[in-house]
Symmetry: C5
Subunit: 353 residues, 5 copies
């Protein structure tokens, strides 16, 4: 995590100063533009956004997708081109945002968290910023792990579904829907890991298990932080407080809202299960420990009286009649066996064995 | 659960794509239609819904009951026939919905959870979707364990009660009431299992008991998830935000709301009892453990001084006067008995035995 | 509790079906009627309510008190006579209601819980239903343990206080006040039992104590369930949403509301104390256990080195100079005493003894 | 506490019955009257309130202070004289009120809790009732431990500050301010006791410490109960819902509200610290216990192999070559020392010692 | 902390009495005045505020910064000069305020908490009071550890950014932003300390670790108390309830609000991690303890049967055939080795070793 730039470096800088806060990346920034209307879709990849082409024809919708935030200059160009407020650009670059929606009149600024199952490292959260204008959408991604927008690109190219017939607001919805749909994939992996842990806790509880439970707990908290505020964001969009959201999209937003609630329900269920698991772990571990201690103590307890008997007949008194008896030794061994058997039966009866 | 289709398979598909998410079933889908009015009731079972007959006569109410969701095509037919929104059909097929009500103007879409006592496998939740129009109700069930609507069919056939005299909104109420009434049956079984567990925890606490407590906890959480949102659903209907709910039905909905609150109260009581039970279990188990350890330690402690005495007289010093005394051995045994009795009395006094 | 009829028997029955749900009783149902006005009070006990006499003279207020709900027919007669809605009668007979108030226009339906200190069995809750009309009050009690309305009957007979000068709404207030006043009696008994338990936990913590703490916890939860919703009920009455509540009674209802808040405060305090008590119990029990184990382990630890010394001089080596020394044995005993004393001092210093 | 009269004695009495509920006192009731205006202040102590003098001159404000509630008759006289509602008098006498404000049109009835540091017995709460009229304030105190109003009397006599220039509402504010100011004194004592306990928990945790923690917890709960509702009381006054509160006093009430919030913050911080302290206590005690057990077990473990060796050479086999070896005994002792040293090093390495 | 003056010394004093409550300081009070407009900035340091110069030219904004509160007289002078309400001055001097904003019509009074990483002593909180007028800002600091306003002074001098073009409200925003920005620095240090603790808990859990966890917990609670109310403060300013906040500043305040939410999120995450850490600590410590006890008990258990065998052959019976057997001793040693090996294998199998 040495490459991660922390928030504190911005302390003292004037508001609107553009600094990239987040994981550094070596990948090149990619900007793709898709212009589409009901009849077709044009796609191009560009390196810089020198000329800003606005279509006066409002039936043409432009989707500008910026992948990678580590070059401040490119983000500034995109922002200047579309006339974005410096504070918006500052927020796009600072990947510590929580999901939110801000209304700047001509455009809406929406922040989401895209989640991926990291390989071995748990869940990875990536910030996605959407700027929704009257006939354009700009999306900014950190570009760490690839995006989940390919099915949407495919639908735009092929014209399947209603996406080309609808406006920019529907595109923004579709992008958010893709992000939320991916939460289910992430959650199911979490569910599987919980089930694995559950079995491990029962069968072979080890100190590392606690660490894993806590690791998973922390990931679920990350999930919560990504999803809880999203609910309010979608709810605000659904209430159509901005004129950029058309009547036709509301029913889709309501559906998206529903999905978010389902994700939250799943997250809360996972939390409950993880919380309960620590209890099971502790009772499981103390159970094993008790078992060991009990067994060993019982072994000890059986031998203590036997050793005492042996000690008695190891005494050197001159007048000890038993010692001189022909069968004394064997009688003594028999007595010891008797005591041992009696104790074993007693422990068995008391259900201690 | 291998047959259970997960939510993630829908990730990336456009909204409104119909995919069945839930447990697969081999049973055939059954569609039954009941048309009734104050004077009578006509009942038929159909295989497909090719022709949609609407009665212009609004005094005739139609109840179309679809049992089984695993054939997407049939659900699509029913939906097309009644002009349902694709998002509604998508939700009907996705059995992960939480209880909700959605107003689509011409019709209300209501989601409920039907609960059954599974045999040995705990509580089984089945999704019930209701579509309430001006003079029809369509109900979709997963069809896993049979339904709880038979008493209503009986009432429709026989004309008992007011059901044939009232409109489609009363039928929807009656169906919801049947579902909620069944919760009491499920809850009483839960109550009995809690009582059984409670006795087990006191009499013979075992590791499996914790597992059972957690299993029951999880079922109660399932119950909560099914019932809590239902409260808001019924409350929304009772407020008559849709014109499809008539004045006359409000008093019945208020009664239903009341029942839901009672169910919630029962669930919360069950939760409290289960939470307390884990405490009792832990104190019960640690109590038994303590008892064992104390007993064994006391046994050990009594023999340690005795063994020490035996050890002393087992020493080989030449000049040990006691060894040559005629009654030395017996005096030594008497001393040992004395020490043992003294310790027993001491432990008794201290209430350690 | 074999006689207790459960809610599930009603599952599947149409709404408004009258079934008594609650503890069965052999006592005969008693109906008493008191008609009063500022000038006097007439009292009679009747067996059945065949003729319903309404006083057109609104200055006469009737109080009909029904004790015992186990004969459905009698309740139905009373209901029909006053024109009560079937759902109200259903709720009166189902003793699982939570406190609530329902406005049926001509009359208010109020549900309360009357609490008694059972003898040895903890708190007993009994359902009281009040129907408040413009110039009558009907009260339904389960009739298990006698009621708390006698002081009100006395006041009506003697004309003490303002009760005969006020309307039916004041009578309803007075009945509710009597029920709430009785909560204080019940709560003080709970407080005493908590104090007793507290002493027991400190002096002699035993497994049964946990059970008693849980029993008391459950009773306090029962209390909460009876009182929390009552707050809203009285608050709703105080807001005068129904025209049946006159201006003059509001100040009394506010006073009653205050009492309810005091009861709730007391209940919450009891809960806190019970929750803390379990902590004290656990630390008390583990303290005693630790004490025992520590003592025994110390005893053992002192004797272990001594036994070792005895073992050394019990060895049979030919060349062991000490054995042949004249005072060897006594020196050895002295050494043992020295070791024991040294260890005792050491333990004392370390504060382990 | 034998003298404390409980709430339950009022059960069954009609509303408005005057009964003193609280600690009985032998001190005589004292009534002091202070009449003041911008120019001066007249002070007198009276035994009974036979004649009620009202100043038509509204610039004269009267403060009637009643200390002691145990003589119901005197409270009744004061109440009748000022025309107070019977329910107000009932509440004044019942010292179980929670802080509240009630608007009776002509006057406001305010209940507060005055807190004192009891000597050795923890915090003592005393009920203060204020009746604020247009140009008078009546204050009722239980009179157990002296009051906190002396600085205000002093200010009235000397004319310092603005108190003589302002109306009765400012006087009521000043009295409440004096009560709240005293909370800080009480809270700082609580803070000191928490710090003392904290040190005790670290240095020498004993069972009594738990008891003290719980005692302090209970006192903090008492504080909470006294202060939380006060916030709403002052907030209600500040909103000027009554015409008795003048515009000029609002800024002072806002200041008082602020102080109350500070008190609440302090109380919550104390609660958090006490909650954390129990954790520290438990880990501290188990730490000490573990230390003891570990030490003793290690001692035992070192001697067990040594005793075994001694046991081996105490066997009586005829053919044991070592026994006949010249230096056998000393070699054996050396072997024992070796084993002991090896074990000590091993334990040291493992950090068990 | 002997120099810290407590709140209780004010108990009994009339409202508006100026007393400094907080840490005493020996540093001299410093007052700096900066007058700026779009074109330039004039800066001067003064000792006393005798003449109050108001610029009728509203384009000139004055920032008066007072560092140090321990001389009541100087604060009084500043206050009198600008006509501040005595209650405002009282609050400025009392450093126990929680963040708040108060509207006095002509000016807003804002309280913030400035946080510093103390050296070894944890987080230090310092109170900052802002008074925002139409064309001036007065800031009061405790002056304990230097301030975070230097970057703003620099920006004013150099004219970088928009600060000189905006009004007094923007200056107040900039000061608050500087304070909030510094929270991130403090939080990152907290984060590092948590990570260090986390490693310590895993690697080498010691009693001091608990103390450190609690210390950190308390600091996080301090942070919460400083930041939570700030959210409401900024939200209130953003809603522009006062005319002193201009339209242009709202977007900046919204940005500041966002930062505050991020700080709160971070704090809550830290709390969760600390709460979880105690669990890990306890399970880690009990794990180590169990390991020790188990090892030692196993050692003991292996030797107990061996010692018993030695005891048997140490008995002095005359007729013990094994004793006279040529290889008896070696057979006995072999038997002992056998028993030991068998037990070791058994323990290994049971996974106890």
């Amino acid at each position: 995590m040495a490459k991660h730039i922390k928030r504190s470096i911005k302390s003292g800088l004037p508001p609107g100063t553009l600094v990239h806060i987040g994981a550094k990346s070596d990948r090149e920034i990619r900007i793709t533009v898709m212009d589409y209307h009901a009849g077709g879709c044009e796609e191009k990849e560009i390196k810089a956004l020198k000329e800003c082409v606005y279509y006066s024809d409002t039936s043409i919708v432009s989707w500008i997708d910026v992948e990678g935030l580590h070059e401040v200059e490119i983000v500034r160009q995109v922002g200047d081109c579309q006339g974005l407020h410096p504070l918006v650009l500052e927020d796009i670059l600072n990947t510590n945002q929580r999901p939110k929606v801000e209304d700047y009149g001509d455009y809406l600024y929406i922040v989401l968290k895209m989640l991926h199952n990291g390989d071995g490292t748990g869940i990875v959260a990536e910030q996605v910023s959407l700027v929704l204008g009257s006939n354009f959408v700009i999306s900014f991604q950190e570009g760490m792990k690839g995006d989940v927008f390919n099915p949407i690109r495919e639908r735009l190219r092929s014209g399947k579904g209603k996406i080309r017939e609808m406006g920019a607001d529907y595109l923004a919805y579709a992008l958010m829907d893709a992000v939320v749909d991916n939460y289910f994939v992430v959650l199911e992996r979490v569910g599987e890991r919980i089930e694995e842990l559950e079995d491990a806790v029962m069968a072979d509880p080890r100190p590392e298990t606690v660490r894993e439970i806590h690791q998973l707990k922390r990931e679920v908290i990350l999930l919560r932080k990504a999803v809880w505020p999203l609910r309010e964001v979608i709810s605000a969009l659904e209430r159509r407080e901005s004129k950029l959201i058309s009547e036709k999209v509301v029913v889709y937003l309501r559906d998206l809202y529903d999905h978010t609630i389902q994700v939250i329900d799943n997250i809360e269920a996972s939390r409950d299960m993880l919380a309960g698991m620590l209890d099971v772990y502790l009772s499981s571990i103390s159970n094993r420990m008790n078992e060991v201690m009990k067994f060993l103590t019982i072994i000890g307890t059986i031998f203590i009286p036997l050793t005492f008997i042996a000690g008695v007949y190891g005494m050197n008194f001159q007048n000890m009649p038993e010692l001189h008896w022909q069968w004394g030794y064997f009688a003594c061994l028999f007595l010891m066996a008797l005591v041992a058997v009696f104790l074993l039966i007693y422990f068995k009866r008391k259900r201690w064995l």
